[in-house]
């Protein structure tokens, strides 16, 4: 069983052993966006409601946003992305993670897709 969940706006959320979650953008989405050239990360301690914009991204083509998958508070950010946005293109679902968060409302996890659901959603 994978503990990775997906949103309709193409974020992934991985539940970690410490109860926190890591959030990023899916490989499918990075491929649509094209080469990333800029990432604006949230600050530690920022609190967002589900679906709020937590990070901004810019590719050579267009601007986009990372929405927080569930209510929560940012506990750390991937500072490497600020200097190297291309990490997201190279490894969207591993080294290209955006932030870790504390989940305020675990019931919302049930509303996210699992891997099979997401693959069906994107038509893969």
């Amino acid at each position: 069983m994978s503990d990775i969940k997906y949103t309709e706006s193409h974020e992934w959320l991985r539940l970690e052993a410490d109860g926190c979650a890591t959030v990023g953008v899916t490989d499918y989405a990075q491929n649509l966006l094209g080469d990333l050239v800029y990432v604006a990360l949230p600050r530690e301690g920022d609190r967002f409601a589900q679906g709020e914009e937590a990070a901004t991204i810019e590719s050579v083509k267009a601007a986009g946003e990372i929405k927080i998958p569930v209510d929560g508070t940012v506990v750390s950010v991937n500072v490497a992305l600020a200097d190297e946005p291309s990490l997201v293109n190279e490894a969207a679902e591993s080294a290209g993670w955006f932030f870790r968060m504390r989940i305020d409302n675990p019931e919302q996890l049930a509303g996210l897709m699992d891997a099979a659901g997401y693959h069906a959603y994107i038509g893969a």
Binding site: G34, D35, V37, Y38, A40, T56, E58, V60, K61, A63, A82, S86, N89
Partner: protein, 374 residues
């Protein structure tokens, strides 16, 4: 999507798909925005070696007849009459208000034949304009049976000369007819990237063979519209419909250099094109606003439509093109600013998602042009 049914395809459509291009609608055509290499690497490859671009969506027109040059001069502020055979010039169609209807290239093929290349989005309107205004003085023939390729980059000359040695001797903005892939092509040493390179007009039924021949060269990579845009932006070149349009005159657009001396006030054939009085007044009295280059003092791209404000927060202009410059390694933009803020080095702010981003008026090109002049 139903609207794609109305989109046209260039003779290279099947090749783009075979190469794995992402196809997007552009100016009524399905065009490759990028190939699997991606926009950043395509951009860098063009600056390092050679890129092949399909620009067959652009309009190719011949003006034929002894009066063609004199007739065309009534529509553009350019010296066409004294344009030497084998040379091309950048030109602008102006309207009666001095606004810009389109930008174009005009080449003199000799024997009373001018060859004109216009923008895809404007071509129907441009051809109608030519026919209605000068169709009684020369023949206006759209070359619908020809494709247009661009080979751009420092290796372009080496690559193309392998197949047609004569092209090595052309200098910037010169053109000739040569045989490539077994068929006569019109080749000019010009382009839209700031690099040395060529534009090649080829009969449509030979376009794919020529493209394959060039792509088989080790230096050459297919390049999409995405990198074409970042390359031209770094080169400080205008994109029609964005950086210039009917609401901007050539002087507001900082394109005085494109108005031939013979057609400026005091020149031997001064005026005589639509809106000449407005343009003359703009030259003499200056303009309220001007197109300038903008360097971004932050990492965030500043895009078309962003408002430009001064230190007091007053809106003084707008960004008309912007993005990330892969060779510059930083975001860059161009836009219009009130003339009081147009001096090089003027600090301004661009509003991005409601926040001011520091920018500075900068000279263009942002990346040195590398045209082959001798």
């Amino acid at each position: 999507m139903s609207h794609t049914e109305t989109l046209s395809r260039t003779p290279l459509y099947a090749l783009h798909v075979e190469l794995g291009a992402k196809m997007v609608p552009f100016a009524g055509y399905e065009m490759p925005v990028q190939y699997p290499l991606g926009i950043l690497k395509e951009h860098q490859h063009t600056r390092a070696a050679a890129g092949l671009f399909d620009v067959s969506h652009m309009g190719q027109v011949k003006l034929i007849g002894a009066e063609a040059a004199a007739a065309l001069e009534t529509l553009v502020p350019i010296d066409v009459i004294d344009l030497p055979v084998g040379l091309q010039r950048y030109a602008l169609f102006t309207n009666d208000d001095g606004g810009i209807l389109d930008d174009l290239m005009v080449a003199n093929f000799g024997g009373g034949v001018l060859y004109v290349v216009v923008n895809a989005a404007c071509k129907a309107q441009d051809i109608a304009h030519l026919k209605s205004k000068i169709g009684h003085r020369c023949e206006v023939v759209e070359l619908t049976d020809r494709a247009l390729l661009a080979l751009q980059g420092p290796a372009a000359a080496t690559v193309l000369a392998r197949h047609a040695p004569a092209v090595a001797e052309l200098t910037f903005m010169h053109c000739t007819r040569v045989e490539l892939a077994g068929v006569e092509c019109y080749v000019s040493r010009s382009g839209y990237t700031g690099e040395d390179g060529y534009e090649i007009s080829v009969p449509a039924d030979h376009a794919e063979a020529l493209a394959r021949l060039l792509l088989a060269e080790p230096e050459v990579q297919a390049i999409g519209l995405g990198a074409r845009d970042s390359l031209r932006l770094e080169a400080g070149l205008c994109l029609y419909g964005h950086d210039i349009d009917t609401s901007t005159t050539p002087i507001e657009g900082s394109l005085l250099w494109a108005i031939s001396k013979a057609r400026r006030p005091g020149g031997e054939r001064a005026g005589g094109y639509p809106g000449a009085a407005v343009v003359a007044r703009h030259i003499a009295e200056g303009v309220q606003r001007k197109r300038v280059g903008l360097l971004v003092k932050d990492k965030v791209p500043v895009r078309e439509g962003a408002e430009l404000v001064d230190a007091d927060g007053h809106t003084i202009g707008k960004v008309t093109s912007g993005g990330f410059g892969p060779t510059l390694g930083a975001p860059l933009a161009m836009g219009y600013v009130a003339s009081a803020h147009a001096a090089l080095g003027t600090p301004l702010f661009a509003m991005v998602r409601g926040k001011p981003v520091a920018v500075e008026v900068a000279k263009t090109p942002f990346v040195p042009q590398r045209y082959y002049r001798s």
